[in-house]
């Protein structure tokens, strides 16, 4: 699974009413998908479960968009 698809799957698990594939990759996905802070933590948890990568609070800004989040995961993989 690509990093992007992992993230999309996590979003859909937390917010089943969202079709994550329609979210623009360069916008703040929390706003686009109307996720609040608890939802966001849940997404990070789901991504962590899938990839083992945990995003510290200090790095939240780096994972604000889908494409930056995917890049972050690729950079921290392995």
């Amino acid at each position: 699974m690509t990093s992007l698809s992992t993230i999309l799957a996590a979003i859909e698990r937390v917010a089943p009413d969202v079709d994550a594939s329609t979210l623009p990759v360069d916008a703040d996905f929390r706003e686009e998908a109307e996720l609040d802070s608890m939802d966001f933590l849940a997404v990070l948890n789901a991504v962590r479960d899938a990839t083992g990568i945990e995003v510290p609070e200090a790095d939240y800004r780096e994972v604000a968009t889908l494409e930056s989040f995917a890049a972050y995961l690729d950079a921290h993989a392995g």
Binding site: S37, M38, R48, E54
Partner: protein, 458 residues
């Protein structure tokens, strides 16, 4: 719970909300003969707003289920009999299939039908019901004088097809039958528990007149969104009409709290991080403990104070509408515990599986718009409570300090008060105590002090 024959206790349909008059048994999680422990979930009840998991509070043995799945009964109706631990075995009532203790009708194949069971008078429609394995109790009769029409039966059957239920333990289905069912996207629920479901039985059913066109998964269930909207509308209208509201507002300085949360989260793994709203809930609960005049109910023309803080938390459902579960003893919880409680409630609310213990009556309610709301919210009190706390989004605000302007994280807190019970001064004190509580939480988190109740006002 009322005690009937010596030894058994009636487990009744609980009230799971102030306005609830009846509930429908969605699923029994126990059978006669099962022993149950304190806090064990034994039945799932469908209400207008959510499926609620109902627990028992005393250990014992289930002796009888009185109301079958799918049936709707009034609050207070006995739905099961449980023999408490230590009760006299000699008085044990016989298991499920027996006639109920107070029969008014001849023995029925299913335990204790409610008096309102529709009677299917037409032989043709009765045959259809048998064919579709629809019990009379499951049919909602729409005809004049309670007559059951053909489409009433078909609608009840559609619930079977469209809402796959777990195969009940007593049901026997052969592997070939399972495969056939799976191939056709059906489940075994419609076959009842009396027959051994073989491949031939499935083939015969498939060859029979086709069931009605599959409808949306919630067919036969109340349209939750519409019902919820109506409920909210009624409650808000009643509140606004009956309660003389006043409002006081204050800005909360979240500098210290935000710093503490950042430090707290930096050392915690993802699963233990705390969202800012948690600190606000803790502060609200502690203010309620400190100003008990705001923590209770208006009943029979007077204020009745509560002995603990049961904080109602307004949750927005993604599908629209709100639900307000309760966090008990909210003033005694630290940040981590409050976060955990909140996360559990949000998850259960989203899945539509709240528990009866989540729905106990609150003593005060808070509505926190979270991250993407307006800067302040002035809410409508949930009767019979006397106060509602509204908290707007946390945002950077200009703050006058030492004669100069500074920028600090702030949030606007509003208390809507019932002027029959409390006046503006008390409301103002409440908001002041929220700020104190916020700062005190911060102190406690840093120093690891034990949480004690703040000194009570007046």
């Amino acid at each position: 719970m009322a005690t009937t024959t010596a030894g058994t206790t009636d487990f009744v349909m609980p009230s799971l909300g102030a306005d609830m008059t009846e509930g429908r048994i969605t699923e029994w999680l126990v059978q006669p003969g099962d022993s149950v422990t304190r806090g064990q979930i034994v039945v799932v009840v469908e209400t207008d707003k959510s499926d609620i998991e109902v627990e028992v509070f005393e250990p014992g043995t289930v002796t009888e289920l009185l109301v079958p799945e799918g049936e709707r009964v009034a609050v207070g109706t006995p739905i099961a009999r449980i023999e408490p631990v230590g009760a006299t075995p000699a008085h044990r009532t016989p298991p499920a299939q027996a006639v109920p203790a107070v029969p008014t009708t001849p023995p029925a194949p299913r335990p204790g039908p409610a008096p309102a069971t529709p009677r299917i008078t037409s032989p043709v429609i009765r045959h259809l019901a048998e064919q579709l394995d629809v019990a009379p109790a499951e049919v909602r009769a729409t005809g004049a004088g309670g007559r059951v029409h053909r489409d009433d039966v078909e609608r009840a059957a559609a619930v079977h097809v469209a809402r796959p239920a777990p195969v009940r333990r007593a049901q026997r289905v052969t592997p070939r039958a399972r495969k056939l069912l799976a191939d056709h996207g059906l489940d075994a629920h419609g076959f009842g528990t009396d027959t051994l479901v073989t491949g031939d039985v499935v083939l015969a059913a498939l060859a029979a007149p086709p069931p009605p066109v599959a409808v949306a998964p919630d067919a036969g269930r109340p349209d939750r969104a519409a019902t919820m909207r109506r409920h909210i509308a009624d409650l808000m209208a009643r509140s606004w009409a009956e309660i003389p509201h006043y409002h006081v507002t204050s800005r909360l300085d979240l500098t210290a709290a935000t710093d503490a949360l950042t430090r707290h989260n930096a050392t915690r793994p993802l699963a233990e991080r705390v969202v800012p709203g948690t600190a606000l809930l803790c502060a609200t609960a502690r203010a309620a403990a400190a100003v008990p005049a705001c923590n209770g109910w208006w009943r029979d023309g007077g204020f009745v104070g509560a002995d603990s803080v049961r904080l109602g938390v307004v949750l927005s459902l993604r599908s629209g509408g709100i639900i307000v579960p309760t966090i008990v003893d909210a003033d005694t919880l630290g940040l981590d515990e409050m976060m955990q409680r909140l996360a559990e409630l949000v998850q259960r609310a989203r899945q539509g599986r709240l528990r009866a213990s989540d729905m106990v009556e609150a003593t005060i309610t808070v509505t926190n718009l979270g991250d993407r709301g307006a800067e302040s919210v002035v809410g409508v009190i949930q009767p019979p409570q006397v106060a509602l706390v509204g908290i707007g989004v946390v945002h950077d605000g200009v703050w006058a300090s030492g004669g100069a302007a500074a920028v600090r994280p702030t949030a606007n807190a509003t208390l809507s008060g019932d002027h029959r019970a409390i006046d503006g001064l008390t409301g103002s004190r409440f908001l002041a105590r929220m700020q104190t509580a916020l700062d005190r939480i911060v102190e406690q988190e840093i120093t690891g002090q034990e949480i004690t109740r703040p000194e009570t006002e007046e």
